[in-house]
Symmetry: C2
Subunit: 225 residues, 2 copies
DNA sequence: GAAGGACACTGACAATCGTCAGGGTCGTTC
DNA sequence: GAACGACCCTGACGATTGTCAGTGTCCTTC
């Protein structure tokens, strides 16, 4: 029996061929209707605003406006829209941020089309769903490292992870170098590492700072004082 | 370019839903015949061995046996098979490594299904193709940085990028700390950076050292609740 | 064999980093 | 108001880092 109305769906993924693929995979299911697609976060937000769908399936790793930010804005503007986050990699920060931003579910791209459709139905009916692989990340405390950083420490870490010296960080933030040193020292304790280089690596691995996917640009402090 | 025999194709991607999507997108084209799919590098190798296809479309970022290694083995075993590399991100090391390993082409997932099909046809007929975005990475010298490192410098960089101090690196390599300092100093010059932290970041961005993408493992996908 | 270059190593300073022992502000609790 | 804790700031001191000048080895070239 056809339930009266199909689930209206918006898809967002910055990889065109993946987006096309998702579209075709999901169009197999009679109870799902794709009312819009988007190639980026900004596009996703406006597409959702236009079509007011039941469910949004959104990739988290997108340039410019990333998935988490898009989820946040969509949930703020249209709280009745159910958001399902999709991503290629299992990352603690992404899972928690997506949930915090308002996502009703979190799924990996290693799921099958059937699993995806099932998750969409669950989310559409007001339920929530989580990739089984994501559970241990939320349950235990395997990756709670660095989540107790103060705002200032996060500022410093951001610059530190770009390779700046304490002097440059101080100039950038309008502080004394000695002050920056203390922040760095506290960061080392909280990240459980021995020195700033290890901190930079750990911060990137834990996703505490934006990691440049593309190797093209290189942050270079204009030195020579 | 209408031929009686379709192009026989093997697809490999560790994300099941993406793999299904690619399969459906490409099955639209009458001149393409998908003779096998694989969820990982090892599976790709054996699938190619079994089916002896014209073209292999292979994702580069796969766990265990990654795409580059798979390409290398496929090209070694079956040199007549044309390999087309596919990846989500534009990374200098991946492009060059894929080409070195024997790939006839390099495409981004931001390509459309049509572009993908066109690239497959080009590669199948003995040509080669490259994502337009990948060209500047190979053409200019924006990322030739660090390719003139001596073996010893590479050893040191490997440890440095893991966050080790000079003293620890010295102990690890059986050197004096002062010696390590000189290697580090030379590395800084060659990587065009100011300090060791920036060197660690640059080395990872440029793919000069193995960068574990995420801190936690990836359990095997399965199940539906 | 001599000359040259690339590479690895080392000990000496100066600059930078990380730790220590403080002080200041703000908001909460008694 | 006093006490408390969280956060941010600062100068002084040892430890680490990065630079400099210099030695030894191996390999190629003349």
């Amino acid at each position: 029996m056809n339930t009266s109305v199909p689930i209206r769906l918006v898809l967002a993924d910055d990889h065109l061929v993946v987006l096309e693929g998702l579209e075709m995979v999901l169009s197999r299911f009679a109870d799902l209707e794709i009312v819009g697609t988007a190639l980026g976060g900004a596009e996703a937000i406006s597409r959702v605003a236009e079509t007011d769908p039941d469910v949004v399936l959104i990739d988290l790793s997108m340039p410019e406006i990333d998935g988490v930010e898009a989820i946040r804005r969509i949930c703020a503007a249209q709280p009745h829209v159910n958001v399902l986050a999709l991503t290629a990699f299992l990352e603690h920060r992404l899972v928690t941020q997506a949930i915090d931003a308002g996502a009703r579910g979190y799924l990996l791209k290693s799921a099958s089309g059937d699993e995806l459709a099932a998750a969409i139905r669950t989310v559409a009916s007001g339920g929530s769903t989580l990739a089984p692989e994501a559970l241990p990340l939320l349950a235990g405390a395997p990756e709670t490292i660095g989540h107790d950083l103060t705002p200032r420490e996060h500022d410093v870490l951001e610059h530190l992870a770009a390779g700046l010296s304490n002097k440059h960080i101080a100039a950038e933030l309008g502080l004394r170098p000695g002050t920056v040193r203390i922040h760095v020292s506290n960061i080392l304790v909280k990240l459980q590492v021995e020195n700033r280089t290890a901190a930079a690596v750990a911060a990137r691995n834990a996703g505490l700072v934006a990691a440049e996917r593309f190797a093209n640009d290189r942050p270079q402090p204009d030195a020579r004082d």
